[in-house]
Symmetry: C2
């Protein structure tokens, strides 16, 4: 089986309230020099056929209307 890592992010131009909240909270905690914060989801799974993962994203893992996804094969 192949270990697949799926990174799911809000699409460009779609509101990212979690990212905004983190970006505002970090300086208040003393962490300056932080920008472009985005919060998304991470799905990791073992699959027989990694070529089917994009279809899994379209149908279940992501919301393709508002999210982009990226599939990475992990070799550990």
């Amino acid at each position: 089986m192949t270990r697949a890592r799926v990174l799911i992010r809000p699409k460009e131009g779609i509101l990212d309230p979690q990212g905004q909240a983190v970006e505002r909270a970090l300086p208040a905690l003393g962490f300056d020099g932080v920008a472009n914060v985005h919060v998304g989801r991470l799905v990791e799974l073992d699959v027989d056929d990694v070529a089917r993962v994009p279809e899994m994203c379209e149908r279940l893992l992501a919301n393709p209307l508002i999210e982009d996804y990226e599939v990475i094969e992990v070799h550990e």
Copy 2:
């Protein structure tokens, strides 16, 4: 600035109900040959000093009691 990617996952042995739900749903949608599904969070941010990101994880981004985090520098 450096682009940092933070992968946040439930700790080993901590319940991962989202992962379980996905693992059950995929075969019902016709995706067989899937195992060890885990769902976590993804935080991506530009930072002046990537060495401070683990501290940001400890204090804000992750819950170190129940989550592990991994910081990756992204060169795009």
